[in-house]
């Protein structure tokens, strides 16, 4: 019996990737792949070009138009979410987590009562969705109702997704009548309890039903015959699927570094307890994504040099290089999204910028363990997520996909602090892999319909990175 063919396409902001896969029983294998620069003003065009290039002459007896297409997009700014919460450390922080876990990018976050100025700012960042939270179930309603009244005046086509205090949900929906509104279960029903899955689900639905049009994606929907996923959501679901279905992959992390952002995904239990360890703050979910808008090799290169300046400078000094030269390089490449350096100097700068991205993304994703001395003796206080049990680490995105040794990815294990009583809970000594064929997002698109096969193919397609193993030849 001939294998069934599937096409998967990911429209990124810079490149559009396509892969043709053959599915036979529980096995998926790559038949062909293609990468083309994204034509931002006409996404349907690049979609058609990639489709044609990948399928050309490879579909045998099957007419190319009959090959099912799965696809994702992060073009045109991806899925922009503004988060509204009550207190910064509780509902707002959970709202951020829900937004990023749904594949969105938090473009602005607001706590307490929204002011007229906040509203103007909210409008100016043009969010696709306003994720509106606040209060535990039965908890605060005063601020929530105030914010609902404010949001009712918001002059923006954004969909307002209410996932706050359940007690006033109907009232909030009433206040927002006439607007694009969706509701989901409270992201923090009790202080310290996180429940982001329902909100994530609604974000995904809202993206499909109401946002796709505005992103210039409807013509692609017509051509593909299927709705897209936001790219980070496809990756998020693949990470979950791998962890749940591939033995030995229960605890792993994935870093997807691009020109504009660095995404960090982890699947590992957040808190392992122990007698002398006290957890403060929220218990973070086993599957977590963070996205850093100031960590990237091109569009964000200047922001990166600013936010990770101290680290970059110490590395440059150690290598006897001038920090000003890196600054000039960053300024230059920040306007050239598709630029690839041709000399060793440029490649060295890229490696250094990449090291800073990997290191900072890991430190920000990971929690902290601090030794505190109390009258009852020494205790360890954990805040945030413990990544020390992460056994495997995957690098994806153009630069990391091309890695041939693990040194760059192992920057994710940097101690981050000189203080002996403060420890960043980054991975300790993970085995490293490169998503060498950049299949992760493509297989993410297939994870819902072919979970076992997609998970296994993703792992099989990785290149294990061992120290000093240089490319053959």
């Amino acid at each position: 019996m001939a294998a069934k063919l599937l096409l998967s396409v990911d429209i990124g902001s810079t490149y559009t990737k396509g892969g043709l896969f053959a599915v036979e029983g529980e096995e998926l294998s790559l038949v062909a792949r293609e990468v083309l620069p994204t034509t931002v003003d006409d996404l349907a065009r690049v979609f058609a070009e990639v489709r044609e290039a990948v399928l050309a002459g490879r579909t045998g007896a099957v007419p190319p138009a009959d090959v099912p297409v799965y696809w994702s997009s992060s073009a045109r700014g991806g899925l922009k979410i503004a988060a509204v919460g009550l207190t910064p450390d509780l509902t707002l922080s959970v709202a951020r987590l829900a937004a990023t876990s749904a594949g969105g990018k938090v473009v602005r976050a607001f706590s307490y009562e929204l002011s007229a100025e906040d509203l103007a700012e909210l409008r100016s960042v043009e969010p696709d969705i306003v994720l509106f939270t606040g209060g535990t179930d039965g908890g605060n309603s005063r601020v929530v109702l105030h914010n609902a009244a404010r949001l009712a005046e918001l002059a923006s086509p954004a969909v307002i997704l209410y996932a706050g205090n359940r007690k006033v949900r109907d009232q909030v929906a009433g206040i927002l009548r006439g607007r694009e509104v969706a509701t989901a279960a409270n992201v923090m029903p009790e202080v310290g309890t996180i429940d982001i899955e329902p909100a994530r689900d609604v974000v995904r639905r809202v993206f499909l039903e109401r946002i796709v049009d505005g992103k210039g994606l409807s013509s692609v929907v017509a051509a593909a015959g299927r709705e897209p996923l936001p790219t980070p959501l496809a990756v998020f679901e693949l990470v979950r699927t791998i962890a749940e279905r591939v033995p030995g992959w229960e605890d792993f992390a994935l870093i997807d570094m691009g020109g504009a952002t660095t995404d960090f995904y982890s699947h590992t239990k957040s808190f392992h307890g122990g007698d002398a360890v006290i957890l403060r703050g929220l218990v973070e979910p086993t599957l977590k994504r963070t996205v850093e808008g100031d960590l990237g090799l091109r569009v964000s290169a200047e922001a990166l040099v600013r936010s990770e300046g101290a680290f970059l400078e110490s590395r440059l000094r150690a290598a006897g290089l001038d920090p000003a030269a890196l600054q000039a390089y960053a300024a230059d490449v920040s306007h050239r999204t598709g630029y690839l350096p041709e000399d060793e100097r440029g490649r060295g700068f890229d490696r250094l910028l990449a090291a800073a991205c990997v290191r900072a993304a890991s430190l920000r994703h990971a929690g902290l363990l601090q030794r505190v001395f109390t009258p009852q003796g020494g205790f360890l206080v954990q805040r945030g997520k413990d990544l020390r049990h992460v056994k495997r680490l995957i690098g994806s995105g153009g630069f990391l996909a091309g890695s041939t040794d693990p040194s760059l990815l192992l920057e994710a294990c940097a101690p981050g602090s000189d203080d002996p009583d403060t420890r960043h809970l980054v991975p300790e000594a993970p085995a490293c892999y490169a998503d060498a064929q950049y299949l992760i997002p493509l297989l993410g698109n297939l994870a819902a319909d072919f979970p076992d096969a997609a998970a296994r193919a993703a792992v099989a397609g990785l290149r294990p990175l061992t120290p000093h193993s240089h490319q053959r030849g």
């Binding site: 009550l86 039965g138 309603s141 403060r280």
Partner: protein, 139 residues
């Protein structure tokens, strides 16, 4: 009417967890909605939890003798953060040494706590007092 809401926790660098669990069990059983933050709770964590859960009262425990320094300013901070009607109770071994209870109570009341309890207090009496205080706050 909804159950009154209490935020519970042991303040500062204090890790005494047994009494905290007893308070949680007792007040839940007594019909209150308890938000228990556990041990080593900072002032801001008490206030964040009270704001999100629209709490009626915060019960601060302190067992290790550093209560005065840990509790200083909690009332002002609550007011600053808009919790202008919150009831504040504190109890435990609040200070080190043999300071008479009346002296301890005076100090904590001066800091803005509504009631101050010894570690030996009868919890049923505390529940009664809280219901009374909640009733008079309504008026």
């Amino acid at each position: 009417m909804d159950a009154p809401r209490i935020v519970l926790g042991v303040i500062g660098a204090d890790c005494h967890s047994v009494g905290n669990k007893i308070l949680d069990a007792f007040f839940t059983e007594a019909g209150f909605h308890v938000v228990n933050l556990g041990v080593m709770v900072s002032q801001d964590e008490f206030l964040d939890a009270a704001i999100e859960s629209n709490a009626d009262a915060i019960f601060v425990s302190s067992l290790y003798g550093h209560g005065l320094i840990d509790c200083e300013g909690l009332r002002q901070k609550a007011l600053e953060r808009g919790l202008d009607r919150i009831i504040l109770y504190v109890g435990g071994n609040l200070v080190v040494g043999k300071t008479p209870y009346e002296e301890v109570e005076r100090k904590f009341k001066a800091m803005g706590f509504d009631r101050v309890f010894r570690p030996t207090v009868d919890l049923a009496a505390v529940a009664e007092m809280l219901r009374g205080d909640l009733g008079s706050r309504m008026n």
